[in-house]
Amino acid sequence: MSPRLQFAGISKLFPAVRALDDVSFSVGAGEIHGLLGENGAGKSTLLRILSGVYRPTAGSVLIDGQPVTLNNPVAARAAGVAMIHQELQQVPRLSVAQNMFLGHPLTRGGIFVARSEQERRAAAALAAIDPSIDPAAPLGSLKVAQRQIVEIARALLDRARIVAMDEPTSSLTPSEFERLAKVIAGLAREGVAVVYVSHKLDEVFGICKRATIMRDGAVVGSVDLAQVSEKSVVAMMVGRELAQEQHRAHATGVVRLSVRGLASATKVHDVSLNLNRGEVLGIAGLVGSGRTELLRLLAGADRASSGTIEIDGKAVRFSGPRDAIAAGIGLVPEERKREGIVPLRSITSNMALASMGVFAPRGVIDHRRLKRVAAEKMKRVNLRPFLLDRPIRLFSGGNQQKAIIGRWLAAGTRILLFDEPTRGIDVGAKAEIYRLIEELAAEGHSVVVVSSELPEVIRLADRVLVMRDGTVAAELDRASLSEQAIAAHAIPQTKMQNGQVHAGSSAGPQARQ
């Protein structure tokens, strides 16, 4: 019997880049197949070909042994392919349900959109993962994690034969992943072929039997995950052995940043914290606990309603990120595409944006110096492909992230705030970023890392603050640091009891008038 899905010799050329080189592998019906590779390996490109967004330069896609022409997303959908895109593909002004049915709405009499029916079905699809999402709410009012869940639920609506998931859990919590895993298992039981892309190896090992590993656009091999170790898979991905590094502390006793009673108009209340020179401070908490907003306050992106911030003992007030940057604070934001990059501009321009003054001491940009610094910083973060003049939008997410980290390196920032620094970033790059963070700390920088991945927090942090409902619920030093300890402080007691580990469930359908 022919496999449900087969890639046969797929190549894809972009101007100046060979994104895919003769990729072949297959996925059987009912199989959950992992697709692994570093940033820029070509995973998204392959899935975009499968979902009709790109056309391959060479090769073909076969479904149930039949070659299919996937010239556009409509054709792909008709061929039974549903896809969850890495970048959220949504229209903020439409409702959740409208987004889920976008392009093929349910109608009454073929004329009017059957909204209530759409909302009913959307609710059913959402219920499997997060029943608190209101299908009638404008999508723009949702948090990133919820938007990602909507994206997943959308793919479940179609009775698809093939479901491709490109990093569906990049902003989900472990508990949300658990539900998703159940849903995926259900799909597999119904005979759906699932292609699952994630940089979280434990997820892939948890739900996939087999996986294909890609490097630089080519297939390195397909493996039976029961037979191999995580370490060897990582070695295949990066082409070398990655040393398993341990936490190294560089913290000093000198306080650099001191925050007292910080609050915002919306979500953050009475946060006090100290950050020392050379310290990596982790901030954990549930989705919606106010971590992002806290970082935005510290980075000057939002205005604090009360509280004080001191840097090296001097009180500072920020009326915008500019002030914070001048005071030595830089933010690596959570939503890279929206808050991080200027898509049409080059890597170099994106990198230099926060430190133009440095590169233009006399008002005119010293392009030689700029090029030199860009080359240096981008080497340090290991940008790939190493094309500094190429528009950043053509780079994979991981490489975009590296450019933004490079931005703060170039600006000489002393306090770096990372919001989900490795979201959507591969193991290789992740290790590089961890190494970078530690190097920065060793050089005397102070770092705050907000992350929903507890192993990441534990790996990096000298000290962890756990946030709950917009304030600091606990402070854990390395001695008392564990996933259990963090979870215990992060989850509101009432929710623990009925096992509901969800943020924002107060916005559930019942609460809506």
Partner: protein, 304 residues
Amino acid sequence: MRDAGTLIGLIVILAVFGALVPGFFAERNLINILQQSSINACLALGMTLVIISGGIDLSVGPTAALSAVISASMLVAGVAFPLAIAAGFAIGLACGLLNGVLVAHVGLQPFIVTLGTLSTYRALALIYTGGNPVLGLPAGFRAIFNGSLFGLPLAVIIVAVVALIAWIILKKTPFGEYLLAVGGNEEAAYIAGVPIARTKIAAYMISGLLAALAAQILIGRLGAAEPILGNLWELDAIAAAAIGGASLMGGKGSVVGTILGAVILGTMRNGLTLMNVQSFYQLLATGLIILAAMLIDRVTRGRG
């Protein structure tokens, strides 16, 4: 309610004129305002759909002119009303089709496409007529658009019906969703399988059709079709849509808001004329009221 800001703006303007102009609230004058706003409202509805789709249509005036002179010359030549009107509508649709194809299939910028067709359609209307107005429209034709129903001018009723249809399209049909999606996030819309090109083209065709309708109403009222008719209509239509809350970045706009925007502009013209404001000061007031309306809107609606 998103349109509340616009409504407040209208109420403020009405109150000011009501206080300054005796007889401003006379039924007759209020009907005048509606009638005088109806043509702009008609155009602005089409413009709103185009703007929501992320485009703009600067060519509405010349489209109307071309439609008007062709309908009118057929009418004068004795062609049956329905046929002549249909021909005018067909012209409007064709103008919109060309705009839409250049935007959607060729991928040119809407502003420039319709800036180009603005000149092109106007030139065609002038060449077709040699620059002369087409006079002597049959009284029967004029009666169609000049009548009244329930004490309201037919033009007002026609535009109200158009507004209702536009509202239904935007709120209740897949096409309305597609417009919002295409203007709100074109890439996402494409990936979701929204027929991008068809949606955009349809928006421009509706705009062309409504320009043609406005032209029929106008020539019915004036009894003549001029090739220079509709000069600067695009600015009024865009202003009405924008005052009504449409965003020129696309993905956002409201039928109710647009109608209110058109009535605000109409009220202003009416009130300033009744106050016999000197022309320079009328111009000043026009500018300031557009700014004030946007400010009121801004304040009542809040950021974003």
